[in-house]
Amino acid sequence: MSAGPLLELQGVAKRYATGRTAVEALRGIDLRVDRGEFVALMGPSGSGKTTLLEILGCLSLPSEGRYSLAGRPVEEIPADGLAKLRGEEIGFVFQSFNLLPRLSALENAELPLVYRRVGRGERRERARAALERVGLGGRERHLPGELSGGERQRVAIARALINRPRLILADEPTGNLDTTTGGEIMALLAGLHAEGNTVVVVTHDARVAERADRRLTIRDGRIAEDRSTH
């Protein structure tokens, strides 16, 4: 994997139209993230962190500006291509887990493989390995409702890494968890980074951010600070 920009943003803005007024969630973001970086994204509530992460994860498109992923301008990629990107190149971890409540841990973890037309047997095999990896061996058949918050987030991480994506995006993955559990989750993400993946984590917690080698602070939709710690 060659070093070079994995993500590149130029003048990215995002506007939400709510009734009569429009909210400027992002106002001109210029950012470059290289392959293999571990980035923490910080900033006050409402500053636009989630909005930025959604754009990075191709879950929404910028209102203005350019965003290139692995050298390809995202706005030029057709809808099916974006779906493929989301499924194969990007692993997204949500603050609220977003597990499907009626599917078991195993079925939740294997979901991205379903849309890559991977056979059932291989799906099971890889999902089991992914759950093992996040320390949930033996919990395959549990429903999300039967798991603790930390365990749910591990399932979500297993789901995010099952396709071995190059980019892992996590939006306050420890926000709903206690400190110890949060630490374990961060250790998992750090481990993924150590394997060469690019990781971007949104967090409010300075101690969490310390694990990253680059800290971005965003205020009012603009990047206010960009510090490398290593």
Binding site: E54, L59, D80, R86, G87, F94, N98, Y115, R120, N163
Partner: protein
């Protein structure tokens, strides 16, 4: 997504909206059962009318003599007409379109057996008439050419005539009197039932004797010739009804020296014509429309339930999109779920419809109450309509599902 996953999800959607599912499924079940039942019933009505009309004789035409119409002669000079054996012989030699031709003599006579006496509809017939009428002989024998040649005094009794005239246990071999003359019962006719014929004459009430016997023993008072009251024929081809009538009328008109198109002089009636007039297809068509509408209403139930389910599953759909589902994967999933729900109701509905038809068909009822007649084509039609309804019902929910914006629905609640 495997087909099993889709079916499982369809069941989950149903389970998640329990009371609504029951109503929705009921709508589809009811609609499907209606399609099966009403269409089968329409088939039954058609068959009943056809059979009822054909009971007097399959594809039969009846010809009777009348009066010369005013169009062809001065009013004062309108003569009454009658057929004789010679006319029938002429017709037999010349007519091409009838497959069979028979002569019938007709009179109301007193029939007596011992002290019992009834007023009976007596027909003098030849074997051709019996063949055209197609009434099976239940006991004894039919009227033969030999009976005609020897002018035998033998009689066939219709079922009701037998019941009214003979004592229980009496049958073939019984001696009766017709118009004062002794006759021997040589055959009993099978039960025919109500006919839809125009003259309302019931075969079951008739007594049949050889036409030559009738002509000899009960001669006409106005002529010495052997009179024939009616000509019966079976057309070669149902679709040639008009042509056959035209030919028969023209030939008889030539013999009787009347206008070749004088419908008053030579009256012809075919039950096929009634069948054409009743327009059975329309009855069946109306029933089909009613049934399909019922099923469409069931489809609307499926659509609204699916719409509601889509709204509740926004987050799930958003997540599927986030992990790599294409819009068309979602579209297909929702369409298949809609089809799955429809199929579930459809299978139940087909079951109920078929059971209802089978149950009713087993009942023994009067001739003129139509029973459903189930044909494989009807079930196939129901399946086609179900697939259409299921797909249509899924279209709106599916297109709404593909419009879910993942970023919006996956936010923290």
């Amino acid at each position: 997504m495997g087909l099993l996953d889709v079916l499982r999800q369809a069941l989950r959607t149903l389970a998640a909206h329990r009371s609504r599912s029951i109503l929705t499924l009921f709508g589809v079940v009811w609609g499907t059962a209606s399609v099966i039942f009403l269409m089968s019933w329409g088939e039954g009505v058609a068959l009943m009318i056809d059979r009822g009309l054909m009971k007097t004789g399959k594809d039969m035409g009846q010809v009777w003599p009348g009066r010369v119409s005013e169009e062809f002669t001065p009013a004062a000079d309108r003569r009454w007409l009658w057929f004789t054996d010679a006319d029938i012989d002429f017709l037999r030699r010349r007519a091409r379109l009838p497959e069979l031709l028979g002569a019938e003599w007709w009179e109301w006579l007193t029939a007596a057996r011992g002290p019992r006496s009834i007023n009976a509809d007596v027909r003098g017939v030849d074997p051709e008439v019996l063949a055209i009428r197609g009434v099976p002989v239940a006991a004894g024998r039919s009227i033969t050419e030999a009976d005609l040649a020897h002018r035998r005094r033998v009689a066939l009794l219709g079922e009701k005539a037998r019941q009214r005239l003979l004592a229980p246990g009496e049958g073939v071999g019984t001696r009766i009197r017709l118009g004062g003359q002794p006759f021997e019962v040589v055959g009993l006719l099978a039960h025919v039932g109500t006919q839809l014929s125009r003259d309302r004459a019931e075969i079951d009430e008739m007594i049949w004797i050889p036409i030559t016997t009738a002509q000899t023993h009960f001669p006409a008072w106005w002529t010495d010739e052997p009179v024939v009251n009616r000509v019966l024929y079976r057309m070669r081809d149902r679709s040639l009804r008009v042509e056959t009538e035209t030919e028969v009328r023209a030939l008889l008109a030539e013999r009787l020296r009347v206008g070749a198109t004088d419908e008053e002089a030579i009256g012809i009636f075919s039950s096929v014509e009634m069948l054409e007039e009743i327009q059975v297809d329309r009855i069946v068509g109306v029933l089909f429309i009613i049934a399909v509408t019922t099923l469409l209403v069931g489809g609307i139930g499926v659509a609204t339930m699916m719409l509601d389910a889509i709204h509740q599953r926004r987050r799930e759909i958003g997540l599927r999109l986030a992990v790599g589902a294409r819009r068309r994967d979602i579209l297909l999933q929702i369409l298949l779920e809609s089809l799955g729900i429809t199929a579930l109701g459809g299978v139940l509905g087909i079951g109920f419809g078929v059971a209802a038809c089978a149950g009713l068909a087993r009942l023994h009822v009067e001739d003129l109450i139509p029973l459903p007649v189930l044909r494989p084509g009807i079930v196939a039609t129901a399946v086609v309509v179900l697939v259409f309804v299921g797909t249509t019902a899924g279209l709106l929910p599916a297109s709404r599902a593909t419009r879910v914006a993942p970023a919006e629905v996956l936010r923290n609640e």
